[in-house]
């Protein structure tokens, strides 16, 4: 048994960290947050050049062909940096969908563009407030045309390829919609974390192509979400680790009553609890990454554990971050709110921790 990343993988991670420390300080997220730009386009180009967008894409399709363990570590570093780019949408969702279910022709058509970053992809499944089970979907496919409204679609406003979950008379399928095109209307929406984009995508007889087997959409979407959730867990863990590290340093250097506030036991114990929560999430995520990389059936439960514990850990980290910073933690000027926003965004995107807990028990108990 060997439950750790290899030296090569760790080196890749260190490279990623170094690159992001140079090109994506926290100010990058702040700039996108405060501007009307949907994402940091220079960073996007850089990340593409580093080969990260195609980390899990075989070289034959223009990717770097690293694998999912490597992609997971890159995700962790992007999480640490709160990178304001549509990485999760394009890589964990659209690219994975094609890797999972695309025909060789579809892969050839789209993967190179996704790997180079020229094309941004995403998944459109949510149809408004609440939890929508697949049978309740209102987005319809008839022949090769789709109609319906998807909201929110993460990074939908900058996407050139949407994988949409759609229904026909009796079954759910995945469909590819290329953008821009006639019959697709995209509107950017305000969100809790404007450093990442959200959109409403309205489809009116938009041209589409089935991805994977017709009628297999429910199963495919579930498997796709398991993969994306695993990768997202690493992004969340990265964010949580950074939040803990900044908070720890703050508490060491902030004095009250003549001593560092980190010396007050209530804060010490809560920081310890936070560390523990992150470690458990990390262990769960490692296991899920292993299952993902090796196509183990365990991924179905491991993804749930990784995702739920990572969501909880990052949310806890960002809440504690503000609380332990005290008043300044609540100011726009400090970075705490970047974490507070991002943690909620990531926890809600792909479904809440509770949703993944439900899914876990469903799978455990058949």
């Amino acid at each position: 048994m060997n439950f750790d990343f290899s030296e090569e993988q760790k080196l890749l991670q260190q490279t990623a960290r170094d690159y992001l420390e140079e090109h994506c300080q926290l100010d990058a997220a702040r700039q996108v947050l405060e501007s009307s730009a949907p994402y940091a386009s220079d960073l996007w180009k850089g990340v593409a050049e580093m080969g990260w967008l195609g980390a899990a894409i075989p070289e034959a399709y223009g990717g770097a062909g690293f694998g999912h363990l490597e992609l997971a570590l890159i995700a962790q570093e992007l999480g640490r940096a709160l990178a304001p780019i549509p990485f999760s949408s394009s890589v964990y969702l659209a690219t994975e969908a094609l890797l999972l279910a695309g025909t060789p022709e579809q892969r050839t058509r789209y993967l190179p563009g996704l790997a180079s970053g020229e094309r941004i992809g995403t998944l459109a499944h949510s149809e408004g407030a609440g939890r929508g089970g697949s049978p309740g979907l209102t987005t319809r496919i008839e022949g090769d045309r789709v109609s319906g409204t998807k909201i929110p679609v993460p990074d939908g406003d900058v996407a050139g390829l949407i994988v949409a979950v759609v229904r026909d008379a009796d079954a759910t399928s995945l469909a590819l919609v290329e953008l821009p095109c006639e019959g697709v209307d995209v509107e950017a929406l305000d969100s809790i974390d404007p450093s990442r984009s959200q959109a409403r995508v309205t489809l009116n007889d938009a041209p589409a192509e089935i991805l994977g087997e017709r009628g297999a959409g429910e199963d495919l979407a579930a498997r796709l979400l398991d993969r994306a959730a695993t990768l997202m867990a690493f992004e969340q863990i990265g964010g949580a680790e950074r939040a803990l590290s900044i908070t720890r340093d703050f508490c060491m250097n902030r004095y009250a009553f003549g001593r560092p506030i980190a010396s007050f036991q209530a804060l010490k114990h809560r920081l310890a609890d936070l560390f523990v929560a992150i470690e458990l999430a990390k262990s769960n995520a490692y296991y899920a990454a292993w299952a993902l990389q090796n196509d183990e059936p365990d991924l179905a439960t491991a993804a749930c554990s990784a995702r739920a514990s990572a969501s909880d850990a990052f949310e806890l980290a960002s809440k504690e971050m503000i609380q332990m910073h005290g008043g300044v933690g609540f100011t726009w000027e400090y970075d705490c709110h970047l974490f507070y926003r991002r943690s909620k965004l990531l926890a809600v995107t792909l479904g809440s921790a509770d949703l993944w807990r439900d899914r876990l028990i469903e799978r455990l108990t058949g």
Partner: protein, 405 residues
């Protein structure tokens, strides 16, 4: 035990209602000091109330109050809140600083300041917190140096509500760095328009800026504006803070448990209402129970108060429970909405009110005593547990270790 008004309470309530009904058209409708016009409206309403005897009800009659009982004050607030949100731009002065002046001010100070404060002619700010002195207020560094009949003040204050529309401020500053920290502070009335004062709004997470930073650059304060003895300001600070906790509002943009239940009814989960989910139900119940617990606890305090007890540190319970609870509720509401939970504005349920609450909630846990300070208060003053070990015990202020932040 009786939840109905006693006869004299009922009579008082009827009187309040009648006056409010007759003057309903004068109630300001704008937000909390959001612009000059809103401030002017508030001032007009306050003057109208003062002239009719409905301002600062619990103040003694000699300063324009009516020496009302705490219960009468609550009744008035209940009735007024049916017409307008009860928090107003005068509350820091009237609720905390005025009562401090009554105890520690000179006769001249009382005569000069209390009536205009009561009538809303002059608005007051509180200048206590500093970037390096939050929970540890006595660790503040803003200092005053004596110069003839004046004090020359330098330093920076933070978290000052309404500084930009205030006329007067209460400043606590260090007048002797060579003694232990509590022993070198003095308490001053300062003209907020004095030369050398610079006010900068603080932008908060939620986009609002109800607070300011206030910079003092060689600001002159006449010694006649000092309240209490030189270096005895901590005593005044205590009086002010004792009046604080009870006057703090705990609203969260008006959202309550009913709204959350309604949201859970409206939101669809897999074809059913989210509220049909047992886990959602239990959480809602849990929130409801804690909120009711806080509400009834405040009734118990009020009853004690109305029997002449002084408000105890038990009052800290309300904020200690409510503030994190509100954050939890807002966070839960966002989750309830699924992936659309992140959206703000018109695309969101309740027009994004819960999302705004989520962003605003952390501030409530920090303002007016952090969770941690409140727990210490309960532990030490109610349960009698030992105080924290003091690293700065017996040290002159200037020797106390400080960090880089």
């Amino acid at each position: 035990m009786d939840f109905n008004d006693a006869p004299e309470e009922a009579a008082f309530r009827a009187e309040a209602r009648a006056w409010l009904e007759a003057n309903a058209q004068a109630v300001p409708t704008g937000g909390l000091g959001e612009n000059a016009e809103a401030v002017a409206d508030e001032k007009r309403w306050q003057a109208l109330k003062a002239d009719a005897g409905w301002a600062c009800l619990t103040w003694p009659e000699e300063y324009g109050g009516r020496a009302a009982s705490p219960m009468q004050n609550v009744i008035w607030n209940e009735e007024e809140s049916k017409y307008k949100a009860s928090v107003n731009i005068f509350s820091i002065g009237q609720g905390m600083l005025g009562p401090t002046l009554m105890v520690h001010g000179t006769e001249e100070q009382k005569q000069r300041y209390l009536r205009p404060m009561l009538r809303g002619e002059e608005i007051w700010s509180q200048l206590f917190s500093e970037p390096g002195a939050g929970s540890d207020i006595a660790g503040l560094r803003t200092h005053c140096v004596r110069d003839g009949d004046d004090w020359i003040t330098n330093g920076q204050k933070i978290w000052t509500s309404g500084a930009h529309y205030s006329d007067w401020g209460i400043l606590v500053a260090r007048t002797d760095p060579n003694v232990v920290k509590h022993a070198g502070l003095s308490y001053f009335i300062v003209d907020m328009k004095a030369p050398g004062i610079e006010i900068r709004p603080i932008k908060q997470i939620d986009g609002g800026s109800g607070f300011n930073e206030v910079f003092f650059n060689d600001v002159r304060i006449p010694d006649s504006s000092r309240v209490g003895e030189i270096n005895d300001g901590w005593r005044c600070v205590i009086t002010t803070l004792m009046n604080e906790r009870s006057s703090l509002g705990m609203s969260l943009g008006g959202l309550g448990i009913d709204d959350l239940i309604e949201l859970a009814r409206e939101t669809r989960w897999d074809g059913s209402a989210a509220i049909d989910d047992a886990s959602v139900r239990r959480r809602l119940a849990d929130y409801y129970i804690r909120l009711k617990g806080v509400q009834y606890t405040s009734y118990r305090s009020l009853t004690a108060l109305s029997r002449g007890a002084t408000p105890g540190p038990e009052g800290s319970i309300g904020k200690l429970v409510s503030a994190p609870l509100r954050q939890e509720m807002a966070s839960f509401a966002v989750d309830l909405l699924g992936e659309a939970g992140v959206l703000r504005g018109d695309a969101s349920a309740a027009r994004g009110a819960w999302q705004s609450a989520y962003l605003g909630a952390p501030g409530i846990r920090l303002a007016g005593g952090t969770d941690e300070i409140l727990r210490n208060i309960v532990a030490e003053r109610v349960l009698g547990l030992p105080p924290e070990m003091r690293a700065d015990k017996g040290m002159a202020f200037k020797e106390i270790p400080t960090g880089s932040l």
